[in-house]
Amino acid sequence: MPVLCSSCSEKRAVLKRPKTGHSLCKACFFWAFEEEVHRTIVAAKLFRPGETVGIAASGGKDSTVLAHVMKLLNERHGYGLELMLISVDEGITGYRDDSLETVKRNQQQYELPLKIVSYEELYGWTMDAIVKQVGLKNNCTFCGVFRRQALDRGAIMLKVDKICTGHNADDVAETVLMNILRGDIARLRRCTAISTASEGDGVVPRCKPLKYAYEKEIVLYAYFKKLDYFSTECIYSPNAYRGYARTFLKDLESIRPSSIMDIIHSGENLSVREGVKMPVQGTCSRCGYISSQALCKSCVLLEGLNRGLPKLGIGKHHRLHEKILSQQPLTEQEERKLKSVDF
């Protein structure tokens, strides 16, 4: 016995929304999904007319849906934005080269300009080469840090005013959980922000229009709209810490679907006790990028790679940064600590 759409009461419902429990037909689902993103954008004042916005596109489900919906809403509601696609090539054979083909198809399908920046040209290191040196345990740290900066560089090359990424509700909730599990108070306080402010040279403000969109709905939107996206797990990610948070979150969602929104809500309303030591924002002494330490994470990781000391960026070795900046040699003991790698 088919369930009728709770919105139009005419057509057969095709999904049950985890957020609200409502059953919607295809057309009403598309409308609800798109208009919710529109409300998110308007309520948080994410864009201003005339701005150029870079959509971070990987060819995956979130960024493909983001590109599709941004273009649609820009036209439907007259945002007055100039949209572009920015893609990062981390140099992961068999994963990124395939998904980049998808982005190139997206470029044609949505008729948007595309800029691809690669780790190879920016840092002289592909992820394939990094994993060979670092192993399979902490490689995601390198990739995430490098990608953040790579997106900024691409955005500056394209002269965009803002970047938007396809992070969805599940991603944000996972990040909240991860920061709690790791005791990272500073990140816990920042991680639910829907947009970052523009802080310093070389940093382009970025936002997450899909912040309140459930991953399930993104996948179903893409499926019903027959959007072209690439779907494979990154070959280097199986041991990523986020995987644990993700599994936990999925189990929670299956018992109580509103958990995802509720976790985000908890994260948004946390306040930090007085007297808790928080990092102060400054700039990197070497490259000028935003940083809370003398050297930004990107410079530290790169230094570690170039010197054959893969653990330099992993773990807390802040005291050694001064030594490295001033080009002082490290003691044998210090070198040994930084060389050991888990595979």
Partner: protein
């Protein structure tokens, strides 16, 4: 005795990798006395189609959380999930959401 049931199965979102990369499968479930339901279909799939790492597809009696199931293009949550009784020519889609975006 119920007649054999022909169903079209589709695997997407990366789930197809557990089935030798084959996305579409046309299968005929053998006839049996009670009607086939989704719970039994999952067991059948695990036994007859799943090529590797069952823990990535099933968890206990049901699919692994993060795998969406559509029956004739509708969310299986609307159709009774595991209790839904299969009809001849039904189209079942399994989409994995567990990958980068």
């Amino acid at each position: 005795m119920a007649a054999p049931v022909a169903v079209h199965l589709e695997f997407g979102g990366g789930a197809e990798l557990l089935f030798d990369g084959v996305k579409e499968h046309h299968v005929t479930l053998p006839s049996q006395s009670e009607p086939w339901d989704m719970k039994q279909l999952l067991v059948w799939i695990q036994r007859n189609l799943l090529k590797e790492r069952p823990e990535l597809f099933v968890q206990g009696d049901t699919v692994r959380p993060g795998i969406l199931v559509l029956i004739n293009d509708a969310d299986w949550e609307l159709m009774g999930e595991l209790d839904y009784q299969l009809l001849d020519q039904d189209n079942i889609v399994f989409i994995s959401t567990l990958h980068g975006g």
